[in-house]
Structure formats: structure tokens, C-alpha cells
């Protein structure tokens, strides 16, 4: 973080505001409550002054200046709404619209489009152009997830800058130049980045759009629910967007302590229960039945034989609590599968401020994608990244050195004195190395599953008991030793050979309440952003009902949760 510079006073549209010297005029205006229209400027990225939308009139300057690239200085007097400034803004918009198609009625961005909004608020209202607009390719599939509309693109470079500055993989670039310049990739290739979805949010026009969401809803028809991504242990803060209570898309919510403002493509697109066949009703031996009957049969089975309760590391804390109670009362084994538990000391914030980051064989880029972006923030602030091991490292571009073993790393890096603190170490064996280096940053082997951090201490499931209670949406391994399996899941059970004796339909994490603990130990609440299938129950409610069928009294916090439902 930059040290606080001495404050200066500037006057913006008559408003006096005091900001640190060097603050960009656009940010100073925000503080003064003055809106300056922008397209290319984004507070998370370096300013480029490409779109010229933020032209303002600064006293004693001969020409209009871009507010996004001008640092304030003492006594600066700025007019954003006088005749000169508004004439400039109108001219920029008029030129931008000279070739931008007016297909807003069929454009996904319509209703949440900065170009639309700025045109209404700051534009001329009518166009003086009579010439035909440029015809360019529309709806070009850039990847399986994203389409590009070249006519709509205004070349603000936000997407290119995101892939360069934030993701660091430079997966998009500006091809050609001048009037024919356009966004693209190498011919014959696709826009492949685990963070590509963020460019959809960043695009200030309808040029980059989600193929999953395209033509499915209008922004003003969406119900928006804040929730938590259930994709991995980072616990990114999200907003669920549903139309008529059916989930349509997920977008990130800013939380500087966790995900900044980003979301990975896996979380954004692949964790949604879209295009996946749902389990819609309880069934016993393949026959659909009622919840009451299915619970009765399940209780009977569970009482009959040695039982193992097996939980997915992605179920909620409340469900885990109920499963633990059931296992204890039945004197059954309790295990987790797949085993992705882990714990870290300190927080993501400590990782972001680290000066040294060591990854012990952990490919953060793939396992916990948004955490990789947070690692990059630390590197941009002057931190150094080291990798140990022969495995894949998605952050290879940013890695200062790779070592075969921890000993080699310690030998190579500490012979000139201690590594700069705070040191963050992630991966297997992090604790030992953390102690050796007296690391002051985030240290540990983080969980990767959504609620993996809550499962710490649970043994790995054995799948050996004849009766198995499987809680959560996993591809459970086949086990012929089981005589009966009871599955609580939200997707239709796939494998016929593994047909469970009893299935109970669950709500998807985005359709229920409950809490998840992220890798650093922060407890976050899920909120239902869409309606679950009629017969599906939240994971914790299904288990509470099962406990009741087993005449096990539900724990006190179960009642609290029942009240929430």
C-alpha cells in the first residue's frame, strides 16, 4: 500500500474536496459526489485514457483533460458540467455511437449497459450521422463460454487489461490497429482463461457476453440474492440472479477480504445447477415415493446394520452438525470423501500483503483460482513467488524460481539472510517450513472443497460398512461391500450399477440457507437465490428429518435453522 501523501484541496463543480496528492481526478470527483462518465476506466486497473469519455474542463488548462489519467494538484479547479466539458463529452459519445449498432432491444447488456446509461445521461440524444454504420462480425464464439460482438465493441481494452493485469495470462489482445482494431485471440484458437467470465462483467457494452446466460433474462427482471460460491474453499462472495425464481447466472460481489471483485469461470458457470438433471423426488429401490415413507425406510435401514455416515466436504455446517449427531447416536462411523480438508493460519488479507509467497506443490491457479489472483496482488505490490515441486504451476509466469525440494529452496534463498516478511506458505508441509522460516503470513495446507475447512479432523471415509449414508452431491465410488446405500443429493444419481437403495432429493447450495467455512476460517451464509424443485429439501433439513425418523433429538441449532427455512 502506498503511504498516505499530503492532502490537497481541489474544487470540482464548486465542491471543495480534500484528497491525498496524486489521487486521480476521477476518484476525487467520486469523493465530492460528482459523477464523471467513464468506459475504459476501472478502479481495479491502471488508467489508460483510451475512450475519452471522462473529459473535464480544468481551469488554466488549454484543452479538456481525461479525468481518469489526471492526478489532482493543490488548488485545482475543475468543471465537469460546464459548456466546454459537456460539449466534449457529447462529441465523444456521438463518435462512439457513429458505429455502435442500436440493437439494444436484442442485446443482453441492455438495461445494465454503461454505454446506454451514459448516452441517456450525458449524450446528445440524437445522432447527426446519416452514413451507414460499419458491418462487422457478430456473435463470434470466442470460447465455449463467451461470444464477441465486434460491432458493439468500443475498444476500451478493459478485457485485455484484465487478462494482462489481473489474470496475467494475456489471453486476449487487441489485433490490428487504428480503425480496424479489434479484440481477439490467435486465429484458430479460443479465449481460454480460467477467469474469462470477469471480462463479461467488465465489458461496458454488449461486446463480450456469456453464452450460458445469453437471451435468458433482462436485468430488470432478475431477482438478486447475495450468497457464497460453492465451487471451492475460497468462498467468493457472489450475487445469484434468478428470473421467475429460476437461476440464470452468478456474478461476483466485492469483498476485499476474500475475492476482491473476481470470480473464476468454474465457479461462475459450472457450479450452477443448469443443464444438469435434478433428482426430483425421493425413491426407494428405484420406486418414487413420499418423503415420509422414504425417511421411514431409511431409518429402518440405518438401525439395521453397521453403518457409516459419509459426508461430502461441500455440505453446509448445519448438515455436518446433523450428520455428526446421527452418526454419534447410531454409534456409526463418520467419514469425509473426497478428503480435501485442511487448515491455514491467518487470512487471505495476510497473503495479499506478503512479501514472500512459497507454494509447496500446490497449483493454486487450478485448485483455488481466485486465490491465485490474490497471490498476484501481493506480487504486484513487490512480493516474490517461489514454487517447490515438479507438478503443474499455473502461476509460472509470475514465479521467480522453482525448486525441486524444500531443502533446495531454503538453501538457495536464505544464505544471504532471511526472506522478507511476511512470508506466506501454502501446500503440504507448509506448517513445518512456516515454523522454520518464522513465517508471518498465511501458512498451511488449505482445504479445496467448499466446506473442507469445517471437516478438519474427520477421518477419510472407508466405504466398508454394509449400510452407508452418503450426504452430498459427489460421484461416490462404487463399493460392492455395501448392501444398502442411502444417498442425499441434488443431481440425479448417475450410475445404474450403483443404484442406491434410497435417494432423497436435496436443494442445490444456491437454493438454500446454511453456512460454509472458507479456507481461512471465515463463516459465510448461503442465501437461497432460486427455488429448489418442489420435493427437494436443504441438506440440513433433510438430515434433521432423518434424525427425527430415527428418534434422535435434533441439536438446538437445527431448530434455529428450521426457523430460517
Amino acid at each position: 500500500m502506498a503511504e498516505a501523501l499530503p492532502p490537497v484541496t481541489v474544487i470540482i463543480d464548486g465542491q471543495e474536496v480534500r484528497v491525498p496528492k496524486g489521487t486521480l481526478l476521477i476518484e476525487a470527483a467520486k469523493k465530492a459526489g460528482v459523477e464523471i462518465p467513464v468506459f475504459c476506466y476501472h478502479p481495479k486497473m491502471k488508467p489508460v485514457g483510451a475512450c475519452r469519455m471522462c473529459l473535464v474542463d480544468i481551469q488554466k488548462m488549454p484543452r479538456l483533460q481525461t479525468a481518469c489519467t489526471t492526478p489532482v494538484s493543490e488548488g485545482m479547479i475543475v468543471h465537469t458540467r460546464n459548456d466546454r466539458a459537456t460539449a466534449g463529452q457529447k462529441a465523444v459519445l456521438e463518435l462512439m455511437l457513429a458505429n455502435h449498432p442500436l440493437d439494444c432491444p436484442i442485446c443482453d447488456k441492455g438495461g445494465e449497459c454503461p454505454l446506454q446509461d451514459n448516452t441517456f445521461k450525458f449524450g446528445l440524444g440524437v445522432s447527426r450521422f446519416t452514413e451507414p454504420k460499419r458491418k462487422l462480425a457478430k456473435a463470434i464464439p470466442l470460447s465455449e463460454r463467451i461470444v464477441l460482438d465486434r460491432e458493439r465493441c468500443i475498444m476500451c481494452y478493459r478485457c485485455v487489461r484484465f487478462q494482462d493485469e489481473i489474470a496475467g495470462d494475456q489471453a486476449l489482445a487487441a489485433m490490428d490497429r487504428a480503425g480496424t482494431s479489434q479484440i481477439g485471440v490467435l486465429d484458430g484458437e479460443t479465449f481460454d482463461s480460467p477467469f474469462s467470465g470477469n471480462t463479461i462483467d467488465l465489458c461496458p457494452v454488449g461486446a463480450l457476453l456469456s453464452r450460458q446466460y445469453r437471451f435468458r433474462a433482462r436485468p430488470w427482471d432478475l431477482q438478486r440474492t447475495p450468497s457464497i460460491c460453492a465451487g471451492c474453499a475460497v468462498g467468493c462472495n457472489v450475487e445469484l440472479h434468478a428470473r421467475d425464481r429460476a437461476l440464470q447466472r452468478m456474478v461476483p460481489r466485492e469483498n476485499m477480504a476474500i475475492n476482491n471483485e473476481w470470480l473464476c469461470d468454474f465457479g461462475r458457470f459450472d457450479t450452477l445447477p443448469l443443464g444438469i438433471e435434478r433428482l426430483r423426488e425421493p425413491a426407494v429401490d428405484g420406486q418414487p415415493t413420499s418423503w415420509a415413507e422414504a425417511l421411514e425406510s431409511a431409518a429402518e435401514l440405518l438401525r439395521s446394520g453397521p453403518t457409516e455416515v459419509i459426508v461430502s466436504p461441500s455440505i453446509t455446517n448445519e448438515a455436518l452438525n446433523a450428520a455428526t449427531t446421527i452418526a454419534r447416536e447410531l454409534k456409526a462411523g463418520l467419514g469425509v470423501w473426497p478428503a480435501t480438508t485442511g487448515q491455514v493460519r491467518r487470512t487471505i488479507q495476510d497473503l495479499v500483503t506478503s512479501k514472500t509467497i512459497i507454494l509447496l506443490g500446490l497449483d493454486v491457479w487450478r485448485a483455488l483460482p481466485v486465490l491465485a489472483l490474490r497471490v498476484r496482488e501481493a506480487l504486484k505490490a513487490g512480493g516474490k513467488l517461489y514454487f517447490v515441486g515438479a507438478g503443474a504451476n499455473g502461476l509460472w509466469r509470475d514465479t521467480s524460481a522453482t525448486f525441486a525440494t524444500v531443502e533446495e529452496l531454503v538453501q538457495a534463498l536464505t544464505h544471504d539472510g532471511a526472506l522478507p516478511q511476511p512470508i506466506s506458505i501454502l501446500g503440504w508441509g507448509a506448517d513445518a517450513l512456516g515454523d522454520e522460516l518464522a513465517a508471518e503470513g498465511m501458512v498451511g495446507s488449505p482445504a479445496t472443497a467448499a466446506n473442507g475447512a469445517a471437516m478438519t479432523g474427520l477421518p477419510k471415509a472407508t466405504f466398508e460398512a454394509p449400510v452407508q449414508l452418503l450426504v452430498g452431491n459427489e460421484d461416490w465410488p462404487l463399493r460392492s461391500s455395501a448392501s444398502a446405500r442411502i444417498q442425499l443429493r441434488w443431481s440425479a444419481a448417475g450410475d445404474a450399477a450403483d443404484r442406491p437403495s434410497i435417494v432423497l432429493p436435496l436443494a442445490h447450495p444456491y437454493e438454500q440457507t446454511g453456512s460454509l467455512i472458507n479456507l481461512e476460517g471465515t463463516v459465510q451464509q448461503l442465501h437461497p437465490g432460486a427455488a429448489a424443485p418442489a420435493a427437494a429439501h436443504p441438506d440440513w433439513l433433510a438430515l434433521a428429518e432423518l434424525a427425527e425418523a430415527l428418534h434422535i433429538s435434533a441439536a438446538p441449532d437445527m431448530e434455529t435453522n428450521a426457523a430460517l427455512a
Binding site: 489482445a173 489485433m175 490467435l186 484458430g188
Partner: protein, 178 residues
């Protein structure tokens, strides 16, 4: 995956071992590898004459930048070619003074005579027609064009007619259009 792994992954390189060695040596001269991208692409183009996507991808992998970034550079600089050139290259200046003196008309006449679009090459590979990105500094004799590094100026009236006939001959098209 680091730079070296990426190099190993691309098994059948579109470049010769000698050219790859030159590129490696050139890139190694720069404190930041990506600075070597432009000279690396020039070295590659010496061998392949133009830069198709597999060549761009290979050079990008060797330098350690994304394929998109390398393509950005290639498409920005007009002297890095993305299409093969014909034996005769006709580059029409279309900058302001030439444009005012009928450069677009000249370009149109050449395109019609060669039956191709500016930027393309005749199907027999004889003539490539290009619209120049930069001024050739012969504004006083506009409109003009450059044929294989040789200036052709004041292309109007009789001079134009003779030039069109010459280009058609070069393309092996004489007698077909007139």
C-alpha cells in the same frame, strides 16, 4: 508449466532448428524475454516469408508470451505479414495527400484489374495488392505506389493506363479484361 516445458510440449515445430537457435540467442539478449518478441518474429519471417498462426504460436511459446499477445504484435506491424506475398508486391499509398489525389480510385482500379481485394494475392501467386499504412514520402507525385521497392508516381491518365497494363501482365491476366 514454465517456458521450457512449453517449448518441449510443441513437438513438431514449423521452424527449422537453426532458426529456433537464432531466436533463442536473440531473446536471451534482453533482460525481459518479451522484449525479444519483435526480433524473434522477424527471424521467423525470414524463413517462412509470412507468419501463419502455427509460427506465431511457436515463437510466442519460445519467448514466453501468450499467443494472443504475439498475434497482437504481428497484426500491428505491417512489415510482419500474416499472408503469403506474391512475386510482385504492389503497395498503394493511401495517406492523406495521395488520398486527395485519387489513391482510393487507383486502389479500386488495381483491385478490379487483378480481380482481388486489397490485401490479397492473385490465385496464381503472381501479384499482391496492398494498401499502405504509412506515407512513402512521395506526396508531390501523388497518387503513387511502390512495386517491389520501386516507386511508381503520378499515376493518372496515360501513365495510369500503362501501369495497369503492366500490372495485368505481371499477374498473367493480359487480354482477359480489355
Amino acid at each position: 508449466m514454465n517456458v521450457q516445458d512449453q517449448e518441449a510440449a510443441g513437438s513438431a515445430s514449423p521452424l527449422s532448428a537453426a532458426v529456433e537457435e537464432r531466436i533463442r540467442a536473440e531473446v536471451g539478449r534482453y533482460p525481459q524475454r518479451r522484449t525479444g518478441l519483435l526480433p524473434a518474429l522477424k527471424i521467423a519471417q525470414e524463413e517462412t516469408h509470412f507468419l501463419p498462426p502455427p509460427v506465431i504460436a511457436r515463437v510466442a511459446d519460445m519467448v514466453g508470451v501468450s499467443h494472443a499477445s504475439a498475434n497482437e504484435l504481428v497484426t500491428f506491424y505491417s512489415m510482419l505479414r500474416t499472408k503469403p506475398l506474391g512475386t510482385t508486391v504492389v503497395e498503394v499509398c493511401a495517406q492523406l495527400p495521395c488520398a486527395l489525389r485519387g489513391a482510393d480510385e487507383l486502389l479500386g482500379l488495381l483491385a478490379a484489374a487483378l480481380e482481388i481485394e486489397p490485401g490479397d494475392t492473385t490465385p496464381n501467386g503472381a501479384v499482391t495488392l496492398l494498401r499502405s499504412h504509412e506515407c512513402f514520402g512521395a506526396c508531390n507525385r501523388a497518387p503513387m505506389c511502390v512495386v517491389n521497392d520501386e516507386y511508381r508516381e503520378n499515376l493518372r491518365g496515360k501513365a495510369l493506363e500503362a501501369f495497369l497494363a503492366e500490372v495485368e501482365t505481371a499477374a498473367g491476366l493480359e487480354g482477359q479484361t480489355s
